[in-house]
């Protein structure tokens, strides 16, 4: 990890970004612990409170999970981060459809009906494929 103090990106955010990159690259795998706050502080010569702030942020983002007295562990990202991203995309697509409908005087009840029917047809198609 290389910290650039002259970058206007705050140091804790640099740690967050580089830790995420390291997880993506497979340096730390799911279920493994990140270096302890103290060990990382000494390694990169950064105040341990800053490391704590970065680890708190990683936990808030759902990338890691802190287990009291044991350390900070990498979470299964398919079950959180990746899903979060997918859900965001879905939400945006639904919104587009709803906005389009409302703009063309389609009633909310009819919009719900259409949602249910496209959901049903998608599910039956998926079943047939299996």
């Amino acid at each position: 990890m290389i910290i650039d103090p002259r970058n206007s990106n705050p140091i804790y955010r640099q740690i967050v970004e580089q830790t995420r990159d390291a997880i993506d690259a497979g340096v730390y795998r799911v279920g493994e612990a990140l270096p302890s706050q103290r060990a990382l502080a000494i390694e990169i010569r950064v105040n341990p409170n800053t490391i704590q702030k970065a680890y708190d942020e990683l936990e808030r983002l759902g990338v890691v999970e802190a287990r009291r007295g044991l350390g900070v562990f990498v979470r299964d990202r398919k079950s959180n981060a990746a899903r979060g991203k997918t859900e965001k995309l879905m939400d945006a697509a639904f919104r587009d459809g709803i906005v389009e409908g409302l703009a063309n005087d389609v009633s909310p009840t009819r919009i719900r009906e259409l949602f249910e029917s496209s959901m049903n047809s998608s599910l039956s198609k998926a079943r047939k494929r299996q």
């Binding site: 910290i3 103090p5 002259r6 206007s8 140091i11 804790y12 502080a41 010569r45 105040n47 800053t50």
Partner: protein, 315 residues
Amino acid sequence: MSRPKLAVDIRGLMKRFGRSTAVDTVGLSIRPGSTLGLLGPNGAGKSTTLRMLMGMLRPTAGSINVLGRDLATEAAQIKQRVGYVPDANYAYRWMTVERVIRFCRPMYRHWNDDRCAELLDMFQLSANKKIGSLSKGMLAKLSLLLALSHEPDLLVLDEPLSGLDPIARDDFIEGVMRGICSGTQTILFSSHQLDEVSKLADDVAIMNHGRVLIHRPLDELLSSFKRVRAVLQDGRLPAVIPKGTIWQSVNRREWALTVQDVDDTLIDQLKSENSVDSIEVAELSLDELFRDFIRGDETPDDQRHEKAQCEAAEC
């Protein structure tokens, strides 16, 4: 003794040498277990402040409280709990490393031989080397070893990194990091190595011409001051400089200012009071913010506007 609220509490500190004022009503406070970086250009009064804190120089006025004790009356007790790494070179040039350690050891009640041996090993200092033959990096490490071996509650470092090569600097910082990581040692270090300060300090204080310009938690400082860049309309100059501006300059049509507490209201106000086309807000690193504080302090308030006009007129 119960733990004091502040490890260091300096109020109204003054030092005059003849007619010149080296330290001018300085106030500084450090929470126990935290690290304060004292910044400032050469001659800002950092070393004089630290020397008064160490009881080596008598203040002209003001009070210094260290670890809950008044320095004016309890200097001897305080000295037992404080480690100091001065910026000046080592005096005992004829002694060996081992001799210096044996010489300093009896001065402290809490000297820890294991800690001392550990540091000796970590810093790869040879016990039988003469002080006079040590490199600058080695001398700095020996000085830190002597300051840390009695496990002080407060560690004071005066420009500890200046003149050290990158490897010696890393070793030195690693020695200091152990104290920072313990969470119980309070550290005060003066420096103009801003990269190191921004990595190590919890709080920073910026001094210039003997005065403290600002004293804040580092993350708060970096999040509250922003650089605003506005493009001035043809032939126009800034009319109203926002409150909280610490530095500004006009270059062609670009008006750059560093301002405290930038939010939408401030930007709207800036737009309504000045003839500007566009406005951009950017974050600053400690390095840039430090320069702005010093440059801004060098320009007196009443001249700021005139100066901006002159610079604009030149182009």
